[in-house]
């Protein structure tokens, strides 16, 4: 076969003198290490631990009324796991791109579902978000753009869900914005939730996942409801001021209640000055203490 020197040369020139698009490959299996917020992402946070959450009064009041037993209601057993669960859940991510069969261009990046979190399909083809009154779903609607080699995804139209798995909720008006930042085998997700109903300012968290050659499965459809014995017509909850677990965290860790109840100022380093004289270091960890597994 004869090679056309003009075509070859043009390709050479193009590859050397013009910048390649900075989009990068995010596909693969990404393991969650859970080295930070390990309890929150694993067994679940302590009741009444709202530290660092930029609550408004409604958000705090709603969280204090919440009973985890709501998850035993058949109609709610699968609820509350919005796309934010990607950031606060325990699992890794299976990620791939879907391409246009003719052009080969990436139409969407996809993060596979877990049993309790719906698939996240990040549309890259420029389609707009649905209108304000369009139906919401657990999956929500996500679009993405590349900023250099960082993928920024914006998710709207989610149902109400957990911000933290102890009753701290997001409303269905929340918007989630996630930046996917890859450094070799590390994929850092920097995510924020903007929620005009329950938060006074954006809530930011960051997580890092590690690429693995172990094939990660992508479960779904999410969650199967079952009967866990909650009587029909009963909604487990606590009346205002009656939450019996409100001091569980403060008692365990010697943290004053004003810190445990959250608010934007609790995430500010200056807040330490406010609680310094009220904090009492507990003598010894009592539960959920971690440490090496036996034999290590």
């Amino acid at each position: 076969m004869r090679r056309n020197p003009i075509i070859l040369s043009a390709a050479l020139v193009a590859s050397l003198s013009f910048p390649a698009l900075a989009e990068i490959d995010l596909s693969g299996s990404w393991q969650s290490k859970n080295h930070e917020d390990a309890l929150e992402r694993g067994a679940g946070p302590n009741p009444g631990d709202f530290t660092g959450i930029p609550f408004n009064d409604s958000g705090r009041a709603f969280a204090l009324m919440n009973s985890q037993s709501q998850l035993s209601m058949p109609e709610r057993i699968c609820a509350f796991y919005s796309q934010w669960h990607l950031m606060v859940g325990t699992f890794g991510m299976k990620m791939w791109n879907e391409t246009d069969s003719i052009t080969g261009k990436t139409v969407a990046w996809v993060i596979g579902a877990w049993e309790d979190r719906a698939v996240m399909r990040i549309w890259m083809d420029g389609r707009p978000h649905p209108g304000k009154n369009a139906p919401h779903s657990q999956e929500g609607f996500t679009t993405g753009v590349w900023d250099g080699d960082v993928l920024t995804a914006t998710t709207t139209h989610m149902l109400t869900g957990y911000l933290r798995r102890n009753g701290v909720m997001t409303s269905d008006q929340a918007t989630m914005i996630t930046h996917f930042i890859r450094h070799g085998d590390l994929l850092t997700l920097a995510s924020e939730i903007v929620d005009p109903v329950y938060l006074t300012e954006p809530y930011y968290i960051t997580r890092t996942f590690v690429n693995t050659t172990n094939l990660m499965s992508s479960g779904g459809p999410p969650c199967i409801p079952g009967d866990e014995g909650v009587p029909v017509g009963s909604v487990p909850h606590y009346l205002p001021g009656k939450n019996p677990l409100v001091d569980e965290m403060t008692n365990l860790y010697g943290i004053p209640r004003e810190a445990a109840m959250g608010g934007a100022e609790t995430a500010d380093p200056a807040f330490r000055d406010k609680i310094k004289d009220k904090f009492k270091t507990p003598p010894k960890c009592q539960k959920n203490c971690g440490g090496p597994p036996a034999g290590n």
């Binding site: 020197p5 900075a22 080295h35 309890l39 850092t188 300012e201 960051t206 904090f279 270091t281 009592q286």
Partner: protein
């Protein structure tokens, strides 16, 4: 004939390929300095947003609370013997302010260029200084230090140099990152309650900047500590900071073993 076509095309391409980075030194001039090459501007003041691992960072966690750290048995043995009063007595109050732990403190950061190939990072909490050396820097001989020896390099996104003129309105994310590798630091604590790292540990960090929905400029630092002596696998955490317009809240405080 074929060779003539090749020669003509390559000759036409060479000036394009040989372009220096835009606006950064002319042809034949000295190579651009790390400061001039920086794809992101880290200089200025930043404040921690402490909404992760709150009770391990804002207060002192109880003895024996090791949740999340991939410790081994040797590490647990050391941590179980943690005694802050003993650290105070021996003058070792800064053990949780060393390079692998300092960006986990609730704090303000201040980045400045010490010179055009040395970036300085100061913290108010613990009053620590880290120095990031670019280029062919050789660490001086001597005993290990609290902040160790840090070598820095820019990871510049393809198209970031020699490409089209940068859009001044483009967000900082995706233009590039700072990678810092730190070794030769003194043993210390990953957490305030005595979870140890050894002098054999190595620290790798990636500094990325992102512009948020509301205009907030965030610094995201991915922190990887590898320690064959005390960790079963690399300890991987990510800290984030918000950019400040000025030095509001900057309040240098000394190290403390008990707070």
């Amino acid at each position: 004939m074929r060779y003539r076509v090749w020669a003509l095309i390559l000759a036409a391409a060479l000036p394009l390929v040989a372009q220096p980075p835009r606006g950064r030194g002319g042809r034949g001039g000295p190579p651009p300095t790390p400061e001039a090459m920086s794809p992101i501007d880290l200089t200025g003041y930043w404040v921690s947003v402490v909404d992760e691992d709150w009770r391990y960072r804002m207060v002192v966690p109880p003895a024996g609370d090791y949740m999340g750290v991939p410790m081994n048995a040797a590490s647990k043995k050391v941590a179980d013997a943690w005694d802050p009063a003993k650290d105070e007595a021996s003058g070792d109050v800064c053990k949780s302010y060393g390079a692998p732990a300092i960006l986990r403190q609730p704090e303000h950061l201040h980045f400045t260029w010490q010179d055009d190939r040395t970036l300085k990072l100061e913290t108010d909490t613990g009053t620590q200084t880290r120095v990031f050396h670019f280029g062919d820097w050789k660490a001086p001989a001597g005993p290990p230090t609290l902040q160790g020896d840090s070598v820095a390099e820019w990871e510049i996104t393809r198209g970031g140099r020699g490409g089209p003129a940068p859009d001044p309105n483009a967000p900082p994310q995706g233009k590039g990152s700072l990678k810092v590798t730190t070794t030769h630091f003194k043993a210390g604590y990953l957490r305030k309650n005595g979870v140890p790292y050894s002098e054999n540990a190595q620290l790798t960090e990636y500094y990325d900047m992102i512009r948020e929905h509301n205009g907030d400029l965030m610094l995201v630092v991915t922190i990887v500590t590898t320690d064959p002596q005390y960790l079963r696998e690399p300890f991987i955490i990510t800290s984030h900071f918000k950019k400040q317009a000025a030095n509001d809240g900057w309040k240098p405080t000394p190290c403390s073993a008990k707070w």
